[in-house]
Symmetry: C2
Subunit: 216 residues, 2 copies
């Protein structure tokens, strides 16, 4: 079995969405200060690091993060190589990749992987065009994985990819680190923490080959 | 496939460890206030709800939550029925259960399940005795699951179960909701969010039967 941890390490200084409160991770107790325990405190927007967007993030009255079907978040997933796309991933780009027709979970590996090595939030990331999002919906795909912090490019006034995907109840995972993963099939586990009634939540996401079910 | 979500819903009012800061989940943006998005903010101790303790929580210089071997957190797990134990789960209690000898991940289903239905933190929960923790280590078990907020009973001055388990690098999962789960074998997925260098982190935990790996 090979496990790829595709989750962003959460720490002070982690890239976060411009306009969101700054993440703050601190120590409540610390062995290094003579305490008997070390205990951390976490404070950040729900859309920090690797995280899942529920429809409620954009759709009034939409499904919440704790009501998503777990079956969507667990199962076979395909990583598509879109490294040569510069700004928006279009339907044409997707057609050109010969993505298998039975894909239900599709992760986009783009040049965004490099952005995580830079200091602070980066605005020039690759995301989906409106017709790219429409392509996803028409294919019957249930989950998409983006490798930076939004499904829409930064400079859009609107959010057509979010609107199209979330209105169709396609789960959006943002902030996946896919640099070390090659294109192809894996098993995906992407589990957001269970924040009741929320619009999204941070998740731990992994891709693996082989089986955990045979592991005793 | 059947999936049991054994994670505590995180919300204001959720039980939290006495002495830890009160959890606060709030809205940064909200459709109901006329915003274009709904976005939540999260603030709580790392040991909130269903969460994983890394050795660093109790052991100075111990392993951190982001350095735990993911293979420990994924795989076959056994739920043992200890409903009739009133305070501490002892080695004798464990011997009496005829727990399979090849168990690597052992979850304790106790009367704690009922405590979650009460208002606020409950002190009279069941946890492990020192000799119960020693029994776990001697069996070569890699992960234990507790169904309330500590591996040690509340009224102990010390924390022998934490000390024994974390010094032996046994992963402790606390706050599993096991009421709806019957004793026996499952596949466990328990993924904490990846907080760099931390002593613990909230996790989404599920038990399932059947296969996610055949699901396309």
């Amino acid at each position: 079995m090979t496990i790829h941890d595709i989750s962003v390490p959460l720490q002070n200084g982690v890239h976060f969405w411009e306009g969101d409160p700054e993440p703050n991770i601190s120590r409540i107790q610390d062995h290094e200060r003579g305490d008997a325990w070390t205990t951390s405190h976490l404070s950040f927007a729900a859309h920090i690091g690797t995280h899942v967007d529920a429809p409620l993030h954009r759709v009034r009255g939409g499904k919440t993060i704790d009501s998503l079907d777990l079956r969507t978040l667990l199962g076979r997933a395909y990583v598509a190589d879109l490294i040569d796309v510069n700004s928006e991933i279009t339907a044409n780009d997707l057609d050109a990749r010969h993505i298998p027709s039975n894909v239900k979970r599709l992760l986009f590996k783009t040049r965004n992987g490099e952005l995580w090595t830079r200091q602070g939030f980066q605005k020039d990331f690759v995301a989906l065009s409106a017709d790219g999002a429409q392509w996803v919906v028409e294919r019957g795909i249930k989950l998409v994985g983006m490798d930076y912090l939004s499904a829409d490019i930064f400079f859009a006034d609107t959010a057509p990819a979010h609107d199209i995907l979330l209105n169709a109840n396609v789960v959006i995972v943002e902030g996946m680190m896919l640099q070390a993963v090659t294109a192809g099939w894996y098993t995906l586990i992407c589990l957001p923490i269970k924040v009741a009634g929320a619009d999204g939540a941070p998740a731990r996401a992994i891709l693996y080959t082989g089986s955990i079910e045979e592991e005793r």
